[in-house]
């Protein structure tokens, strides 16, 4: 039964750059259809950890990962696992909106097409844009360049294109940090809608955002060897109201850094 509740689990996951260990011994069980936030001071390895979840760190030549990352009992860093398949199942939204220099329609359709989507493309595009709460704003200009959209719209487009490949998990790396407060609010509202269908892992700088939007929170901190680690992982309410770790308390109450 346990497996059904958890979308993804890490088992003593460590991330190394050459001889340097950037993230050490992470054990997390990420619950299905919930929003899990990763918080912590800058440079503590939040983004590095997040990127490990869909093997984006593969592109850093010196980077290697030890421990296990389990999706449906399969280790994503196992021998026969294809990183391209992994990323199909675990999508990602980045800090700065990065739509492709293509039309709005193509931005959504492209990922589905390369991944062998055989259904009706128009429907998929519409549904994805609706899911990302963008449809009403762009339905009349689907063939226009995605660069014509505002930053907030671009970010929702990036969410829409991720939804279009129907991943199990969506990773979000500070998705609102480059946006204005109103766009940020819309993204947060959208996340609440999305969690009905997806598991969301979000890295954020913004503690109010984590407190507002997430169900679970992982607190990261670097140790004296400058390796980051999860020092506390709990219900978001618990983290913000009665943290067990002194360092977490210092951080969430703003007494740190």
């Amino acid at each position: 039964m346990e497996n059904t509740n958890y979308a993804i689990e890490t088992n003593n996951l460590s991330i190394h750059y050459g001889n340097f260990t950037a993230v050490k011994g992470v054990n997390m069980k990420v619950e299905r259809q919930k929003i899990t936030a990763i918080i912590g001071p800058s440079g503590c390895g939040k983004s590095t950890l997040l990127r490990a979840f869909n093997r984006m760190n593969d592109f850093v030549p010196s980077c290697h990962v030890t421990g296990e990352l389990l999706l449906d009992n399969q280790n994503l860093y196992g021998k026969n696992v294809d990183p391209v398949e992994v990323r199909r199942k675990i999508g990602m939204v980045f800090q700065k909106p990065n739509p492709f220099p293509k039309s709005i329609y193509e931005n959504i359709a492209w990922g589905a097409r390369i991944n062998g989507f055989k259904g009706k493309m128009d429907e998929l595009v519409e549904q994805s844009l609706r899911s990302a709460a963008l449809w009403d704003e762009v339905k009349d200009k689907l063939q226009q360049s995605a660069y014509a959209l505002s930053g907030g719209q671009q970010q929702r487009l990036c969410i829409a294109r991720t939804i279009a490949i129907q991943p199990e998990i969506i990773l979000m790396d500070e998705p609102a940090s480059a946006l204005d407060p109103i766009s940020t609010l819309r993204i947060e509202e959208l996340m609440q809608e999305l969690k009905k269908n997806y598991t969301i892992l979000i890295v954020t700088h913004n503690m109010q955002q984590a407190a507002r939007a997430s169900d679970y929170t992982a607190m990261m901190m670097i140790d004296d060897q400058r390796a980051g680690g999860v020092i506390e992982f709990d219900d978001t309410k618990a983290i913000f109201t009665r943290p067990k770790d002194k360092r977490t308390e210092d951080y969430v109450t703003g007494r740190f850094g």
Binding site: P61, R87, G91, M92, F94, N98, F100, P101, I114, T162
Partner: protein, 316 residues
């Protein structure tokens, strides 16, 4: 301590006493700035000189009662000495050799650029790039030797008697190799300028490296690559030595790459290399051809620069 302070003060009294903040006339500064300004705008005079001199002599040519624009652009035989002024006899060869060159250099150059920019490890890159740079540094007359004495005989062994000793095919192929490094390095710059975020966006959607390179990075770099192609064409049109050595001597209105024909540049080189008397119709006609060359390459270069600047703005 105290002594030193006193000492400094007395020094100040000697040399930094007056505070005159009025603007000073620094004559040597002004002269130097004037000289530098002159050096800076000399290039403008070079352009003016090119336009003026080429234009002047070309006008003498076009002013001849016998030479009409209709004849110049409308006929296909070029022999000013006997009243034939059809520039197409030379343009056809320029077009043919340039087309062959682009057919070679564009796919090969672009493919090399993609490999270097997207696939090659830094170590492999540091080996492969200098090789392309060597290729770019070889004088064109050496390429001419290579075209005539290596490529043509090899082509001849396949094509036999259909291929004349001097032919546009061999010249065009070698010209393509000559332009390849240019296309490759400019395209590589364009590809590398595509932000990493775009690549990551594609990878995060489960795209393979090829899909990312061809369907996301390449389209994003397209204008930069376009600029490279335009510069490549401009180089091909203006290239002289390869065609002068290997393409043939004598105007020939033909688009058949197996035939010998003379390009605009090749014609200028051959005629001016012989005994040429000033103010003859041959002399003036060369300037008319050179003016055309200058204008065509000027337009191509301007377009390319404009495209590159647009492209830069897009990502900066």
């Amino acid at each position: 301590m105290k002594e030193e302070v006193i000492h400094l003060k007395s020094l100040e009294a000697q040399s930094f006493r007056h505070f005159d903040l009025k603007k000073k006339l620094r004559i040597s500064e002004s002269i130097i700035q004037g000289l530098l300004f002159f050096a800076g705008i000399l290039s403008i005079f070079v352009t003016i000189a090119i336009v003026y001199e080429l234009g002047k002599e070309a006008m003498l040519f076009f002013a001849l009662p016998d030479v009409t624009f209709a004849k110049f652009f409308g006929t296909t035989k070029w022999q000013p000495g006997i009243g034939q002024y059809g520039i197409w006899a030379l343009v056809s060869a320029t077009l043919t050799t340039s087309t062959i060159a682009m057919l070679i250099s564009l796919p090969l150059g672009l493919a090399s650029a993609i490999y270097l920019s997207e696939y090659a490890s830094p170590r492999l890159r540091s080996i492969l790039k200098p090789i392309l740079e060597i290729l770019a540094g070889i004088p064109t007359v050496v390429y001419g030797y290579f075209a005539l004495l290596f490529v043509t005989p090899i082509l001849k062994s396949f094509l036999g008697e259909d291929l004349s000793v001097y032919n546009m095919l061999s010249a065009g192929l070698v010209m393509g190799i000559m332009i390849l490094p240019l296309i490759s390095s400019m395209s590589e710059d364009a590809l590398s300028a595509v932000p990493r975020a775009l690549r990551e966006g594609a990878y995060a959607m489960g795209a393979t490296k090829l899909e990312t390179s061809l369907q996301v990075v390449l389209p994003a770099a397209l204008s930069g690559i376009g600029a490279a192609v335009i510069i490549g064409i401009s180089r091909a049109v203006g290239e002289t030595m390869i065609v002068a050595v290997a393409a043939g001597a004598g105007p020939n209105f033909s688009f058949n790459p197996l035939e010998a024909a003379e390009t605009m540049t090749g014609h200028i080189a051959r005629i001016s290399g012989g005994d040429l008397s000033y103010n003859s119709i041959d002399y003036n006609s060369l300037f008319a051809i050179a003016l055309m060359l200058f204008l065509v390459t000027l337009v191509l270069n301007l377009i390319s620069q404009w495209v590159v600047n647009k492209f830069r703005e897009q990502y900066e």
